[in-house]
C-alpha cells in the first residue's frame, strides 16, 4: 500500500495547523486508521515560542509512529519506544523514529527541509501506518512538496480583518486551482526553459516593481522570439514573473513546476491579481504537478500585541460569521474544526481511499 502523506500548512503562525492535525489524528484513530505524525516545525509545546500564549497540545495513541528530534523525545508524557535514529539533523538534534508505547502528549520537531522530509516519509512507509500527517510551521510551504495532499490552515492570525482574510483565501484558492497537463521539456514545439538561476537575477528591486536591465537580458525568450511555451523551473519571484509576462508575446503558455512555486513567489494577493490578468492578455498559466488542496480550515483566534504591557493577548473574531464569509466565497470546503470538523476527516478519508486504496488497519 502506498501510504499517503497529508500536509497541514498554514498561511501564518497560529492559524490552527496543530489543532487541525490533532483533530485529524483523533478522527483517524476513531475510524480505525493508524496515523503516523511528524512536523516540519516545532509542535506540541505548551507555550508559543514567539507570543508566549498557550498552544494546542498533541495527544498520541499506542501503536502510532512519531518522528521527532532528540531533544523532544523526553518532553511529552507519552512513552515512546525508539525504533531508529535517522541521519536527518535539526537544531534540536537528529530525528528519531519512535513507536508510541503508552498514550500521552508528544512534542514534534521533524525534518524541516524538502529533501529530508522525502527521506523520512519513505522510511515511514516501510512501517505500519495508514496515513502520515505532517504538521507545518509558520507559513512555510516548500517542504510540503513532499506530501500528497494539503490542508491549508487559515486564520485571523494572518489578518484580523475579515475582508482581508477573505481576499487572501480567495487568492490562495485561485492559485491552487491553476492546474493543467504536464509538459515535457523535450517535447516538440517552441519551448523555452527558464531556470531558477536566471530568475534570481530578476526582481532585486521590488520597490519599483520593475525588473532590472540585467534581468531583462537574462529572460529574453530567444533570438527568434517565437517561443510560446515557457517552462519555469525552481524558485520564482513575483518580480521575475512580472518581468517574464512583460517580455513574452501572446498567445503563450507559462508552465510552472507546481503550485507551491507560485505560492512562494510573493504576496499571494498580488500574484493572484497578476495571474488573473493573464487570460485577457492571451497568456495561459498553470502548474503541471499541482499539489491537491483538500480543504481550508479557519481559526478565529489571533494574538494581539498589547503595547502598554508588552505582551500578547488572545483575541477572537466572530467564528460563525468568519466561516460563513469564507464558505460563500471560496471554491474549496472550509472547516472550523473546533466547531464542526467531521466533514474534514470524511474528506481526507475519501482522498486516502481513492489514492491509496484501503487505509484501515
Amino acid at each position: 500500500m502506498d501510504v499517503k502523506a497529508i500536509g497541514i500548512a498554514g498561511t501564518a503562525k497560529n492559524t490552527g495547523k496543530t489543532t487541525t492535525l490533532s483533530w485529524l489524528l483523533q478522527s483517524a484513530l476513531e475510524d480505525g486508521f493508524l496515523p503516523a505524525v511528524t512536523s516540519i516545525g516545532y509542535d506540541g509545546e505548551a507555550v508559543d515560542n514567539v507570543t508566549g500564549l498557550p498552544k494546542p497540545r498533541l495527544a498520541v495513541a499506542p501503536g502510532m509512529l512519531v518522528a521527532t528530534a532528540e531533544r523532544c523525545l523526553s518532553l511529552g508524557s507519552a512513552q515512546l519506544k525508539i525504533l531508529e535514529r535517522s541521519s536527518l539533523d535539526t537544531p534540536l538534534g537528529p530525528v528519531f523514529l519512535a513507536l508510541v508505547h503508552s498514550p500521552g502528549l508528544v512534542v514534534l520537531a521533524g525534518p524541516n527541509k524538502t529533501s529530508d522530509l522525502k527521506v523520512l516519509l519513505q522510511r515511514i512507509r516501510e512501517e505500519k501506518a495508514s496515513v502520515i500527517l505532517v504538521d507545518g510551521a509558520f507559513g512555510r510551504l516548500a517542504p510540503m512538496q513532499a506530501t500528497d495532499g494539503l490542508i491549508m490552515a487559515q486564520g485571523a492570525a494572518r489578518f484580523s480583518e475579515v475582508s482581508r482574510l477573505v481576499a487572501q483565501t480567495v487568492a490562495l484558492a485561485g492559485l491552487f486551482s491553476l492546474t493543467g497537463p504536464a509538459v515535457s521539456e523535450n517535447a516538440e514545439g517552441n519551448r523555452r526553459v527558464i531556470s531558477a538561476a536566471s530568475l534570481l537575477e530578476v526582481g532585486v528591486t521590488p520597490d519599483r516593481g520593475m525588473p532590472s536591465e540585467k534581468g531583462e537580458d537574462a529572460l529574453v525568450p530567444g533570438p527568434d522570439n517565437r517561443s510560446s511555451d515557457f517552462l519555469v523551473n525552481g524558485m520564482l519571484t513575483l518580480a521575475a514573473l512580472q518581468s517574464l509576462v512583460l517580455q513574452i508575446k501572446a498567445p503563450a503558455r507559462i508552465i510552472l513546476e507546481n503550485t507551491i512555486q507560485l505560492l512562494l513567489s510573493g504576496d499571494v494577493e498580488a500574484v493572484w491579481r497578476l495571474v488573473s490578468s493573464l487570460a485577457e492578455k492571451g497568456i495561459e498559466i498553470w502548474a503541471q504537478h499541482p499539489l491537491p488542496l483538500l480543504a481550508f480550515t479557519i481559526n478565529p483566534f489571533y494574538p494581539e500585541w498589547i503595547e502598554g504591557s508588552r505582551i500578547f493577548r488572545e483575541r477572537y473574531l466572530q467564528a460563525e460569521a468568519l466561516e460563513a464569509a469564507l464558505a460563500t466565497t471560496v471554491p474549496f470546503p472550509v472547516f472550523d474544526v473546533k466547531r464542526n470538523g467531521t466533514g474534514l476527516w470524511q474528506l481526507v478519508k475519501a482522498f486516502l481511499l481513492k489514492t491509496q486504496g484501503m487505509g484501515q488497519y
Binding site: 501564518a12 503562525k13 516540519i40 516545525g41 516545532y42 509545546e45 515560542n49 514567539v50 507570543t51 528530534a69 531533544r71 523526553s74 539533523d89 535539526t90 537544531p91 534540536l92 520537531a109 524541516n112 527541509k113 524538502t114 529533501s115 510551521a137 509558520f138 507559513g139 512555510r140 510551504l141 516548500a142 517542504p143 512538496q145 531558477a196 538561476a197 534570481l200 537575477e201 526582481g203 532585486v204 528591486t205 521590488p206 525552481g234 524558485m235 519571484t237 518580480a239 507551491i260 512555486q261 512562494l264 494574538p303 500585541w305 500578547f312
Partner: protein, 634 residues
C-alpha cells in the same frame, strides 16, 4: 591561528535587519582570523536579493541575524522556503541568530541551526568547522571539580602547628575510646544501606513503617528481610522519642508527611527531566565555584530549585535539613515532605535529589552540628554526595550540641568522611552569634587539624559577614573589604588549605530590597574571586526576608548578579587597603593566643566548656543536646 586550506569554508553573513549587524561582524572577524572566507552583506536587503547572493556565491554556510517581532519570523521562514524550493539548501547550511532565537524556534523556522542571545563567536566558528567546542570555548565544563586536590595541608606557622598537634593528640586520645548513640546509629545505618543495596531492584529501603508488615520487595530473600528487620529494631532502640515512634508505630513527627504514590511518581519524573538551556556563570578554570542552598522542606520545590540553580550556572548545591533534625536522636526514612523550612534527611529523599542532579553538579549533604552527625556522613557517603560539613566547635557553641557528644561524634564523622573520600567544609557560623573571628577561626583550625590527622580533606570556611563583632568594633565602618580579606590573609599564613567563604557570603548585608541584596552578594563574590578562594556559598536575594520558601526569581537574581560581577571583574582584582594586612597579622597573633589557652585548658572539649573558643560574653553557649550520652568503650 589559521586552518588548512582544504577545510576553509565560505560563509555568507546577512543581517535581515536595518541596524543589528554587530554580532555578524564579530563572527566575520573570527572566521577571517581562522582563514575562512566570510562575506558580509549590507543590512536589510530584500529577501530576493539575499537569495540571489546565496545562489551566486554558493557558500557552505549562511548566517542570518534578526531581532524578532511578530511577522519578522514570517520573513525568515520565507527565506528558508525559497531557498528550499530553489535547491539552495542541499549544499548550504542555514543558521539564524538573534536575541529571541532558541533552538526550538530555529527548528520551527526551518533552519539547520539556531544561535540564541548567549551565543559566543567561538560557537559560531566551531559550527562552521564542524567540531565541538573546546572546554575553554564552551564555558563551564560539567565535570566535577575537586576543591581540595591542589593543597598540601601543611601548616606554615610553626607555633600554631605545634600547639595544634598537641591539642589534636589530646582530643583524639579522649574521643577514640568513647562512643555515643549517634556513632552506633551511624554504623547500623551503614549496614542497613548495604543490606538493601545487595538487592539491586530496590537500592533504597521502603519506609520502615511499612517494613514491619511488608517485605522490602516481593523478590527479596527472606533472610535479607529478617536481617533488615533486626537492624531496624536495634536502630529504633538508639533513637529518641519522636524518631522512635516512627520506627515502632509508623508515626511521623508533626508537619511531616509521606508522599503519596502519585506524588512520588510525579517527583521521580520531575527528577529525571532534563534541564533547560545552561547559562555560563564563570569560565571553567575560574574560581570561586558557586554553591547555593536548597531545603524548602518540599521535595518538589527542592528539585525545582536545584534545576534552576544548575540552569543558571551554579556549580554546587547544599542540602539544608530542618533545625530540629540536629536535636533529635535518629533520622527518619521514606519519601517525606516537611511543611516548614528544611528538607528531611532520609535515604529516600536524598536518593531522589541525587537522581535529579546533572552529572557535573557538586552536592553537599551537611552533617555538621547535631546528634546525627556521623549518620549523616554515612548517608552522604552511601548516596553519592561529593561533600559534607563537620565542625565540632560551631556545633557545640552555636549549634546547641553538648561539646563532649560532638567531640566524640565529630571525631567518628571525620573518620567516616575520610573512609568515604568525602571532603568537608569546616564552618565558623558561631561568628554570627557574636564570637570574634579569631576565636571562631581557632576552633575551626582545631577541627581541621583533627580532620587532617584522621586522613580527611577539610575545606576552611571563614565567613564573609557583617558580623556582630564588626558592628560593635567598627571594622567595617569604612568598607566591607578589609576585614573579610584579613581572614583569608590570616588563614593563608597559617595553613595551605582550600578556602570556601560562607555562609552565604554577605548574607548579613542583605535587605528586603532584591536589587541591593543581589548587588551585595555579587560584590562579596567579586571579593572572593579577587582573593582567589576555591568556592563560595551565595544566598538568594530574598533569603533573609522571604518569610517562607525563597522564590525562583530571587534565586536567579543573585546567580545573575554574580555572573555579571565575574564578567565585570575578569582577571582584574579588588584591592584591599593596608588595614587588611594589619588586621590579618593581629588575627594570626590572636589565634595563636586562643590556641595556647585551649591547650592550657586541656583538650578541645575543655576549651569548649570553658569558653576559650567563644564565651557567654561573646554570645556562645555550650549546647545541651545529647548531654550525658557519651560512654567509654569497654
Amino acid at each position: 591561528m589559521s586552518i588548512p586550506s582544504m577545510t576553509k569554508k565560505k560563509v555568507l553573513l546577512a543581517p535581515v535587519d536595518p541596524v543589528h549587524d554587530v554580532g555578524l561582524k564579530m563572527i566575520r572577524r573570527a572566521l577571517q582570523e581562522r582563514g575562512h572566507e566570510a562575506i558580509l552583506l549590507a543590512p536589510d536587503l530584500p529577501v530576493e536579493e539575499i537569495l540571489r547572493e546565496i545562489a551566486r556565491s554558493q557558500p557552505d554556510f549562511v548566517f542570518l541575524s534578526r531581532t524578532l517581532g511578530y511577522g519578522v519570523t514570517e520573513t525568515l521562514a520565507r527565506i528558508i522556503d525559497l531557498a528550499d524550493f530553489a535547491g539552495l539548501r542541499e549544499k548550504t547550511r542555514f543558521a539564524v541568530g538573534g536575541m529571541a532565537i532558541r533552538p526550538q524556534l530555529a527548528a520551527e523556522l526551518g533552519f539547520d541551526r539556531g544561535f540564541g542571545p548567549k551565543t559566543t563567536v567561538e560557537e559560531a566558528v566551531a559550527y562552521v568547522e564542524g567540531r565541538k567546542l573546546t572546554e575553554r570555548e564552551s564555558g563551564p565544563s560539567r565535570a566535577k571539580r575537586n576543591l581540595s586536590s591542589n593543597y598540601s595541608y601543611q601548616f606554615k606557622h610553626p607555633v600554631i602547628s605545634q600547639v595544634l598537634t598537641e591539642l589534636v593528640a589530646r582530643t583524639s586520645g579522649w574521643a577514640a575510646v568513647r562512643t555515643s548513640p549517634g556513632v552506633k546509629r551511624a554504623l547500623l545505618r551503614q549496614k542497613i544501606l548495604q543490606v538493601t543495596q545487595r538487592d539491586e531492584t530496590s537500592p533504597i529501603p521502603e519506609p520502615v513503617s511499612l517494613m514491619a508488615q511488608t517485605p522490602l520487595t516481593p523478590e527479596a530473600p527472606f533472610s535479607q528481610r529478617r536481617e533488615l528487620h533486626e537492624l531496624r529494631r536495634q536502630y529504633a532502640q538508639l533513637a529518641g522519642g519522636a524518631i522512635r515512634a516512627y520506627y515502632d508505630q509508623g508515626d511521623l513527627p508533626p508537619k511531616t508527611r509521606s508522599l503519596s504514590k502519585e506524588e512520588l511518581a510525579f517527583l521521580t519524573n520531575l527528577a529525571n527531566k532534563g534541564k533547560g538551556e545552561e547559562r555560563q556563570l564563570h569560565l571553567p578554570d575560574q574560581r570561586p565555584l558557586i554553591f547555593v542552598q536548597y531545603g524548602t522542606g518540599c521535595p518538589f520545590m527542592d528539585i525545582a530549585h536545584i534545576k534552576l540553580a544548575e540552569a543558571w550556572g551554579a556549580d554546587g548545591v547544599i542540602h539544608f535539613d530542618p533545625s530540629w533534625g540536629a536535636r533529635a536522636e535518629g533520622l527518619l526514612e521514606g519519601n517525606l515532605s516537611h511543611e516548614e523550612d528544611g528538607s528531611i534527611l532520609t535515604p529516600q529523599n536524598l536518593a531522589i535529589i541525587q537522581s535529579s542532579l546533572t552529572r557535573g553538579t557538586l552536592w553537599q549533604v551537611r552533617a555538621h552540628r547535631g546528634l546525627n552527625t556521623p549518620e549523616t556522613v554515612v548517608l552522604a557517603g552511601e548516596l553519592g554526595a561529593d561533600l559534607t560539613k563537620i565542625n565540632i566547635a560551631y556545633g557545640s557553641l552555636g549549634g546547641g550540641t553538648d561539646p563532649d557528644r560532638l567531640v566524640v561524634d565529630g571525631y567518628q564523622s571525620m573518620k567516616l568522611a575520610a573512609a568515604y573520600g568525602l571532603p568537608y567544609d569546616v564552618v565558623t557560623n558561631e561568628e554570627l552569634a557574636g564570637v570574634p573571628a579569631h576565636k571562631a577561626l581557632a576552633g575551626m583550625l582545631i577541627s581541621a587539624a583533627l580532620g587532617i590527622t584522621l586522613g580527611g580533606r577539610p575545606i576552611l570556611q571563614p565567613l564573609f559577614a557583617y558580623s556582630p563583632e564588626v558592628m560593635i568594633g567598627g571594622q567595617m565602618d569604612d568598607n566591607y573589604v578589609d576585614f573579610n580579606a584579613a581572614k583569608i590573609l590570616a588563614l593563608r599564613e597559617i595553613i595551605d588549605a582550600p578556602l570556601w567563604p560562607g555562609a552565604p557570603v554577605g548574607f548579613l548585608t542583605q535587605s528586603e530590597d532584591r536589587v541591593q541584596s543581589s548587588l551585595a552578594t555579587s560584590l562579596h563574590a567579586m571579593l572572593a574571586a579577587s582573593m582567589g578562594v576555591e568556592a563560595i556559598t551565595i544566598a538568594s536575594s530574598d533569603e533573609a526576608y522571604s518569610g517562607g520558601p525563597i522564590s525562583a526569581a530571587s534565586r536567579v537574581d543573585t546567580l545573575r548578579a554574580v555572573a555579571e560581577g565575574f564578567r565585570f571583574l575578569g582577571a582584574a582584582r579588588i584591592q584591599h587597603t593596608d588595614r587588611a594586612r594589619e588586621w590579618a597579622d593581629k588575627m594570626v597573633h590572636d589565634i595563636e593566643e586562643v590556641l595556647e589557652k585551649a591547650l592550657e585548658a586541656g583538650s578541645l572539649r575543655d576549651a569548649l566548656y570553658q569558653g576559650v573558643l567563644g564565651s557567654q560574653e561573646d554570645g556562645a553557649y555550650p549546647g545541651r543536646a545529647g548531654r550525658g550520652t557519651v560512654r567509654e568503650i569497654s
